[in-house]
């Protein structure tokens, strides 16, 4: 019977969906930002696999179906941009320049720090796209000899840092323009930071969504030259 369970794709699908629901439930109960559904669900799935000594391949038989949907998930961010085209048009140049500065700073500072700490090439390639949204970051990491999983982990760390500290950053760095604040949140902490930006204000939320897309595209282009 165990054989049947471990070879069926339904095992991975069931485990993933159940863990996600548990994560959402815990977030609702506690309201803590660190009880992020994604973090909880990942921890739960890894705990189940490790405790029951289930090989990763048994999980990925089902997990791969979900992974396949990352393409469509990224593609429909286009609708986000389209729905906010009025703000985009009004601040077109600052949006473009800001995202370019943000992407250059991100890639440049990561490269410099990786050289400083003599980090392995595979880890450098995985850290490089850590400021952009997961689907894009994993694609960039893999196409440069990095590991998608490590990139996803770095993206999570950046996202949580931004989501927790975004209001503090604005105070410390004296950022009072809503457009600047929103773009900065999206540029440094993508979708996870955007959840916080939406709480801060509607302009911040809209600009943060745009920054996810524009920085993702700029960083992919920058990565071509590395």
């Amino acid at each position: 019977m165990t054989d049947v369970i471990l070879t069926s794709p339904f095992f991975g699908l069931t485990l993933t969906a159940a863990a996600w629901c548990a994560g959402c439930w815990l977030q609702k109960k506690t309201g803590l930002l660190l009880c992020n559904p994604l973090l909880i669900a990942v921890a739960l799935i890894i705990a189940v696999l490790a405790l029951l000594d289930i090989p990763y391949a048994a999980y990925s038989a089902g997990g791969d179906f979900i992974k396949l949907m990352l393409g469509p998930v990224t593609a429909v961010l286009a609708l986000n941009i389209y729905n906010q085209r009025a703000i985009l048009k009004e601040h077109f140049l600052p949006v473009l320049a800001g995202c370019l500065v943000g992407s250059l700073t991100s890639v440049g500072s990561i490269l410099a720090l990786c050289r400083l700490f003599r980090v392995e090439e595979a880890l450098t390639a995985s850290l490089l796209p850590k400021s952009v949204t997961t689907a894009i970051a994993m694609g960039i990491a893999e196409s440069h000899g990095g590991v998608a999983g490590i990139a996803a982990a770095a993206v999570m760390v950046a996202g949580i840092t931004g989501a927790v500290f975004a209001p503090l950053f604005a105070r410390v760095f004296r950022i009072t323009e809503p457009v600047a604040e929103g773009l900065a949140i999206g540029a440094c902490s993508h979708a996870l930071g955007t959840t916080r930006a939406i709480e801060i204000g509607s302009v911040q939320g809209a600009m943060s969504s745009i920054a996810i897309c524009v920085c993702g595209i700029i960083t992919s282009l920058l990565a071509l030259f590395l």
Binding site: I45, I46, A75, V76, G98, C99, V119, T134, G162, C188
Partner: protein
């Protein structure tokens, strides 16, 4: 619009993007090409938002869920991360406020400069 038609449109865009990604010589993620392609179709009014509304809403509302298997995949690489845990965490934490600072200051400076120019031309 029929939900299956929405799925056909979005998956079709992804399929075309994979072909484009395979054709161009540089390594460029197909998902980003799909994003750009879909945005172009929307701005060119070839597609209307209601053509992809429901499937998009479902995907965006549950966005983080689709990242779970990739994140679980980290456990396959735990030894590589643990071996360099200090630089991994340090670089991930340090560069985030740095990117925030650079982006926010650049944008704020541009907006204020434009506003000053506007004020002067009105005088």
């Amino acid at each position: 619009m029929n939900i299956m038609a929405e799925i056909a449109i979005i998956c079709g865009v992804c399929l075309v993007s994979e072909v484009i990604s395979a054709l161009i010589p540089a390594a460029f993620p197909a998902s980003v090409i799909a994003l750009v392609l879909l945005a172009l179709l929307l701005f060119a009014k070839i597609l209307k938002p209601e053509h992809i509304q429901r499937f998009s809403a479902f995907l965006v509302a549950n966005m983080a869920f689709f990242f779970l298997p990739s994140c679980v995949g980290v456990m396959e690489h735990a030894p590589a991360i643990l071996r360099q845990l200090a630089p991994f965490l340090l670089i991930s934490f340090l560069t985030t406020p740095l990117v925030y600072l650079a982006t926010a200051w650049a944008v704020q400076w541009m907006i204020r400069r434009a506003r000053r120019k506007e004020g002067r031309s009105r005088d």
